[in-house]
């Protein structure tokens, strides 16, 4: 590329900034302003081979360079940006666009409207919408300066004739009544109260224009972040936030982030352990057993678990537990017996819930902590307040003899197994019911923390994941574990609940990566069927399993991580630690 202009160093062309943000492609515009003699500086775009491609996926060189130029300007490297434009011969913005941007930032409305027509947008409706918001800005700025009559004139003679968005025209006329308007309350959030910054207007315009005219801001960063997201999703073992994000290497976690080694065995129960669950804050673990008792364990700061309270009182095996939303109390349910409410810090039984001669089969707290839900042997569901007064009773076939009962954390849905092959979702307000139908008998289910997914455990040794938000639809299946005679439970867990863990009758714990459905770990150690699993909601590296072998195993990471955080990292040991369960 010849020409006298080449001898001028780029820095000479970059001038002092305007009072608003520097428009991109600045150098071209200042050059245009300077003199007509240098007009040949406007390099022709097309002659560089518009269709040149780079890489292996048909990426156009022109687009690639322009995206990089945008990134450079965003970072503040306008000299480099200008250099890039010059060297590559690819202008970041066409001269008209640059003029347009300047006009907007200067408040030269008429000029900008004229430029708008020359920019190269084919779609008339976009031009109208853009004109509308430019004129709207003009309108508001006039009102700001209390030039009410001029603002009215703009509205009448320039804005209304566009015949775009008549509703907004009404709203704008309303603002004329209040030129110093600071109306905030009582009006919809959509109302603009005073004129926004011109740079914001520019951003809004940018979004309206096709990307060939004006490149969307921050596009390069957006593309890179998309790539990182995909890498993370594809990472099967991503269970820790601790790793840095580096652009040099693809993200790939090692297996070492998944709990896979027994770090503690808890042997305080006298019989099969049927159920366990960590508290919401991850500080406690509650387990229940066919020895008619439940135990509250404490998770200490060093990750070791110790016995806090034994909860005695049930006359039947305790089949389920429910933590109160604030973790200060728990409910336990005896099989076809009663529900007991306990205080966590004292271990005292605060209340016993029962209903006549009926047996209770499940229990759950309401999300506001004020009510207790329970399924009954007559297939209905009853709701009590904390003192045992019955608030409501949902009659009919709402639950089966052995069923889980869950309330979504927003209090909107009650979920229960109402028939062998059907799960019922009852909307508490409207009383409407939706259901999930399976082809096989349902054994148990569990709800994800975000209330969007339901993991259903079936008799045919499959776990089905359903999306229950909006239209109910199946999402994935997980297989591999064994179940034939007993209730085996599964749970969500790990960082952002990206994993699924399940017990199994072959004494192992199975862990799958939720997104891909791949089985990533099977944990050996128990000597009896593993009935229930709970993943610590606060520590993605701690897993607890309950087994028919009367023990509870706590699983942790295999090796010491270089970054220790306070919770739950257990020290490496050659052997397995035994917990002697000292009573408090």
């Amino acid at each position: 590329m010849g020409g006298a202009e080449d001898d001028e160093p780029p820095s000479k062309r970059v001038k002092a900034s305007y009072s608003y943000t520097q428009p991109k492609g600045y150098s071209n515009s200042s050059f245009l302003k300077e003199s007509a003699t240098c007009s040949s500086m406007a390099r022709p775009l097309a002659s560089q081979g518009d269709d040149e491609l780079i890489g292996s996926q048909g990426i156009k060189k022109v687009e690639f360079v322009r995206v990089i130029a945008d990134a450079l300007y965003s970072l503040g490297y306008s000299k480099t940006g200008a250099c890039l434009e010059e060297e590559s011969g690819i202008t970041f913005h066409s001269p008209t666009v640059t003029t347009f941007i300047q006009q907007i930032l200067n408040g030269n409305w008429d000029g900008s409207l004229a430029s708008l027509r020359k920019i190269g947008i084919a779609d008339e409706s976009i031009i109208k919408s853009a004109s509308f918001i430019i004129l709207q800005q003009k309108f508001f700025e006039l009102l700001d300066r209390e030039k009410v009559m001029e603002a009215l004139k703009t509205l009448r003679t320039e804005i209304s004739p566009l015949s775009v968005n008549n509703n907004r025209v009404r709203e704008l006329s309303f603002f004329i009544l209040f030129p110093k308007s600071r109306i905030t309350d009582g009006l919809s959030g959509q109302r603009m109260v005073k004129s926004k910054a011109r740079s914001e207007l520019l951003e809004e315009l940018q979004k309206m224009f096709p990307p060939t005219v004006m490149i969307p801001d921050g596009r390069l960063l957006q593309l890179v972040e998309q790539a990182l997201d995909l890498q993370r999703e594809a990472c099967l073992f991503h269970n820790s936030d601790a790793g840095e994000t580096s652009l040099y290497v693809n993200h790939q976690c090692g297996r070492d982030q998944i709990p896979s080694q027994t770090v503690q065995i808890l042997q305080e129960h006298q019989d099969e352990v049927w159920y366990l669950q960590f508290s919401h804050n991850g500080k406690y673990l509650a387990s229940s057993s066919s020895d008619n008792s439940a135990i509250i364990w404490e998770v200490n700061l060093d990750g070791k678990i110790s016995l806090k309270h034994r909860l005695m009182g049930h006359q039947k095996p305790v089949s389920s537990i429910s933590w109160s939303p604030d973790d200060s109390q728990i409910l336990t349910c005896g099989v076809e017996e009663v529900v007991r409410r306990w205080d966590v810090s004292s271990g005292e039984c605060l209340h016993v819930y029962e209903k006549g001669l009926l047996g209770l089969i499940s229990c759950s707290w309401s999300p506001d902590g004020k009510c207790v839900f329970s399924g009954l042997t007559d297939k209905s569901i009853v709701i009590w307040d904390l003192d045992g007064k019955e608030v409501e009773c949902l009659k009919g076939q709402k639950t089966v003899k052995i069923s889980d009962l869950q309330i979504t954390s927003d209090g909107k849905l009650i979920i229960t197994i109402c028939k062998e092959t059907m799960i019922l979702l009852i909307d508490r307000e409207s009383k409407s019911e939706r259901c999930i139908e399976e082809e096989q008998m349902i054994v148990s289910f569990t709800l994800s923390r975000d209330n969007k997914y339901l993991l259903v455990s079936l008799v045919n040794e499959e776990l089905h994941l359903w999306n229950i938000e909006g239209r109910i639809r199946p999402v994935a299946k997980f297989k591999g574990h064994k179940r034939s005679r007993f209730i085996v439970r599964a749970c969500f867990g790990g960082l952002e609940q990206a994993f699924i863990a399940s017990g199994s009758e072959d004494s192992q714990v199975y862990i799958w990566h939720r997104g891909s459905g791949e089985l990533i770990e099977t944990l050996r150690g128990h000597s009896g069927a593993v009935n229930c699993i709970s993943w610590n909601p606060v520590n993605p590296h701690m897993l607890a399993s309950a087994s028919d072998d009367r023990s509870i195993r706590i699983w942790g990471l295999k090796q010491l991580s270089s970054k220790q955080n306070g919770k739950g990292k257990s020290p490496v040991n050659n052997g397995i630690q035994y917990c002697n369960g000292a009573t408090i």
Binding site: V148, M149, L152, L155, R156, T157, I159, S160, P161, N166, V169, R170, E171, L172, S173, F174, I176, L177, F178, I183, G186, L187
Partner: protein, 216 residues
Amino acid sequence: MDIDPKQYEQIKINDKDSHNIILSYLIHGCYKETLESLVTSTGLKVTNAQLEDMEKRKRILHSALEGNALDAIHLTEQMSPDLLENNKDLLFDLLSLHFVELICSKKQTEALNFGQAKLAPFGKVQKYVGKLEDFMGLLAYVEPEKSPMFHLLSLEYRQHVVDNLNRAILAHAYMPSFSKLERIIQQATVVRQCLSEELGKDVLSPFSLKDFLKRS
């Protein structure tokens, strides 16, 4: 299938009832001269106070209908002092009539000033905001008749506001806000509709006043 007209003959109407119905209609519509003739020919009683009130009401309604809303407001306040105070919706509607009048006479500046002075205070209350937007919106168009809010300029709209004003004034004076004639027609229509619904659509045709009057 319809009701056999011969059945009507079974019902006897009292003359006095007929006169009362007409009287109430005339009072409602402020037809003073007609009322005076009726009174003379039937021997019905109407007091002077009643006639005076009717005259006042007539002036108010005519002012409003002719676009002289400010006069109408002033007269209303004279006749029934706290009526508009307690009926903000009506006050707003009347003020808006004046606003519309200014717009139709192409007096934008005056309209704007009037709007800022008198209508703007209503804007603090949520339920008036929509209406205010509609009216102010008229200002935004060089040809308001071609705007989406053109109906606000129409005679029908003015008539509607005037009707509301009439009913409010009557109610304020503890007089019926609907004339008996209106009520009778409304009653017949509603009863007929109920019957149609109960007996099924094929049995009775929906009540049409026009047809009924033509037939008899």
